[in-house]
């Protein structure tokens, strides 16, 4: 009766159910990693840049989804976290001798420290998460459109600080000479870890509290869920993931300026997340893959493609136009995206015929909201039973 692989809104109960909920997104992440490696081998590394950027984008979309999916607040400020991660990791990845020339006024701690790649990634993530803590305490008290606009404010503030902090960031000039140490291993390794953590967050009581506040703030608060912490934890986690993405991006790009992280950078991640479906991690991965393939095809069309005797060349910038139109069309006819609130789940128990979905949770069809439908009654029950004394 039960399939091994299926799409569900909710995970089965219990520790085994948590495993089921974890395995689905992990399977997708592994599949994407495998495909990326296959592409690398087939093209003999000639498009490895594109594959790396795709992986980094996937991390960024997973990070974005962790906040927007769980809290329902659409953030335009995540690029700021990407910038924080990129600068934190980037500065410490410039070789020390070059750093002394490039940033002579750097504080001694920053001037002398050299870190391994995993530490730079953690540092990038931590810097972004700290930024999220400070900003979140203010921004997350707001709701709906006002909160979204406040996240735009965050982006402006971070951009302004990066431009002005000459001694640390070189101001508006680009920071260059960052060691190029982002590899397939780091990108897709991080992706798998990040997907696992994101699924853990989603299925934890923290995730549940955030979604309870999203779906019915009054009922959730009456049940003892506090609004600010419920939103702050996904916000910080999401910033951490985005910061890691920024750190990887910095060490792939090797040179960047504050302008590399501003409004135009919002487009990609936003479109990927919305088209995949804001409500699920699987959706984030599917959206990132689909849009990456599409934009790459459009980019090739821009530089001209021979179709038999014809040479088709699209005007420059066509990919932005298509992304814009696709975004509008998706919101109009399928606002919940490809997957909506559905999460891929893998139930190994079904292999042995013993598996049965122990959950009594009713499945509900998706409704028309971008940030996915109201919680099931069972989710709300869970909030009540798990509330703190």
């Amino acid at each position: 009766m039960n399939a091994v692989v299926a799409l569900h809104r909710d995970r089965p109960a219990g520790a085994a159910g948590l495993l089921v909920g974890l395995l689905g997104p992990l399977l997708l992440a592994a599949l994407i990693t495998g495909l990326a490696e296959l592409v690398q081998t087939m093209t003999q590394g000639t498009i490895s840049d594109i594959v790396l950027v795709f992986g980094i984008n996937a991390i960024m979309v997973v990070g974005f989804q962790a906040f927007v999916g769980n809290t329902g607040i659409v953030s335009f400020g995540h690029v700021a976290f990407m910038a924080l991660g990129a600068y934190a990791a980037g500065i410490l990845s410039v070789p020390i001798t070059l750093r002394a020339i490039e940033l002579p006024a750097l504080p001694a701690v920053l001037a002398q420290t050299e870190l391994d790649v995993p530490l730079t990634l953690l540092l990038g993530g931590t810097a972004a998460a700290l930024g999220a803590l400070v900003a979140g305490i203010a921004i997350l008290r707001l709701s709906g459109a006002a909160a979204s606009i406040a996240t735009l404010g965050l982006l402006v503030i971070v951009n302004n600080l990066l431009v002005q902090a000459h001694s640390i960031t070189r101001g508006p000039q680009s920071l260059y000479g960052v060691a190029q140490s982002t590899t397939d291993g780091w990108v897709f390794g991080s992706l798998i870890v990040v997907v696992a953590l994101s699924a853990l967050l989603k299925w934890s009581s923290w995730g549940l509290r955030a979604r309870a506040i999203r779906d019915d703030p009054v009922a959730a608060e009456a049940s003892g869920v506090r609004r600010l912490p419920a939103r702050l934890i996904p916000f910080m986690f999401s910033a951490f993931v985005t910061g890691v993405g920024g750190a990887l991006y910095a060490q792939d790009l090797t040179a960047f300026s504050p302008d590399s992280f501003f409004v135009p950078q919002i487009v990609g991640v936003l479109v990927m997340a919305i088209i995949g479906g804001l409500g699920s991690i699987s959706g984030a991965l599917v959206g990132a893959s689909a849009i990456s393939i599409l934009t790459e095809m459009l980019r090739r069309l821009e530089s001209g493609v021979g179709l038999g005797p014809l040479n088709v060349q699209a005007p420059t910038g066509i990919s932005e136009l298509i992304l814009g139109l696709l975004l509008i069309a998706t919101l109009r006819w399928r606002p919940e995206g490809i997957l909506g609130p559905l999460e891929l789940e893998v139930d190994p128990r079904a292999l042995f015929g013993a598996g049965s979905r122990t959950s009594a949770r009713p499945e509900q069809p998706a409704t028309g909201d971008v940030t996915s439908a109201p919680a099931t009654a069972a989710e709300r029950d869970d909030v009540r039973s798990r509330r703190e004394p």
Binding site: L142, L154, V156, N160, P264, I266, G317, G324, L331
Partner: protein, 293 residues
């Protein structure tokens, strides 16, 4: 004393630009909860049209009129095609939709005008400065203040003294009842898009005449200023937009004057942080949402 007067004048000028910007945005919000990310692109398009009209050596008043009319038309077109199908969608969906619309309008501008900055030629009188009683009165600032007063007055009369304004206010306050009373939501929506576009057309000329040049990517700055102003004043009402715009202008001018020279560069960050702080104490904005249009 003179210095303070001068600052107040500057603040009024900057503030009235922001108030005008916010006005165009808030009107649409009041009837369909749309915070329009593509609003800045309206200004950019208006500036480009102004450049085309100036190159056709039209006299200044006709240039402005042409901008206002074409921008109103563009706004109605975009509203009809892109936004009206979303009339009942949640505000967040609308906000993201408008982000898509911004991309499309931007691409169209790049396609037609290219990426390079274009200079908006203004009549020489516009850049002159009157010196009176120790005050510096740049014509550009005076024009902005006068234009803002004219628009506020006109809008007040339309909204409060005409049958049509009554319909708009009714649709903003109680859309369902208004429809039952025979107010066509489509007509009201298109009218509001037209007014919003006309205001954007005017502000586009004023804004980019002061900035000097325009590129297809110049829309972010005005869009952000307008967003901050309407959130600060209170979403969806005219008084909120005007108060929000003026307060934002005053914040900027006085911070620029009061900050030590080392900190001037941080004005943007401080203004945004101040706005977020104000929102924490008044989440519904300074005027509040419930004040009606």
């Amino acid at each position: 004393m003179i210095l303070i007067l001068q600052r107040i004048l500057d603040a009024l000028s900057v503030g009235s630009t922001y108030a005008l910007l916010a006005l165009g945005l808030t009107l649409v919000y009041s009837v369909m909860n749309l915070i329009n990310f593509a609003y800045g692109m309206m200004l950019v398009w208006s500036a480009f049209i102004a450049i085309v009209l100036v190159n056709a050596s039209l006299p200044a008043p006709f240039v402005v009129l042409g901008c206002i009319l074409s921008s109103a038309l563009l706004s109605v077109g975009v509203g009809r095609v892109a936004f009206q199908p979303f009339l009942t969608a949640p505000p967040v969906t609308l906000l993201i939709t408008s982000f898509g619309v911004e991309l499309v309008l931007q691409y169209a501008a790049i396609f037609v005008f290219g990426e390079n900055p274009r200079i908006l030629q203004v009549p020489a009188v516009f850049s002159e400065v009157i010196h009176a009683a120790g005050l510096r009165l740049p014509i550009s600032e005076l024009t902005t203040i006068v234009a803002a007063l004219l628009v506020f007055g006109l809008l007040y009369i339309v909204l409060n003294r005409t049958r049509f304004g009554l319909q708009i206010r009714a649709a903003a306050e109680l859309p369902d009842i208004a429809r039952l009373m025979g107010v066509s939501p489509t007509v009201v929506l298109m009218a509001v898009f037209a007014i919003s576009g006309a205001i954007a057309g005017l502000v586009g000329v004023l804004w980019f005449a002061q900035v000097g040049a325009v590129t297809p990517r110049s829309d972010i700055d005005p869009t952000f200023k307008a967003f901050i102003a309407i959130v600060l004043g209170g979403l969806g009402n005219v008084r909120g937009a005007i108060v929000g715009g003026l307060v934002l202008g005053a914040l900027e001018v006085f911070l620029n004057a009061a900050l030590p020279s080392g900190a001037i560069g941080y004005t943007d960050a401080i203004v945004f942080a101040a706005v977020i702080a104000i929102l924490l104490f008044r989440p519904a904005g300074l005027v509040g949402v419930s004040a009606g249009l």
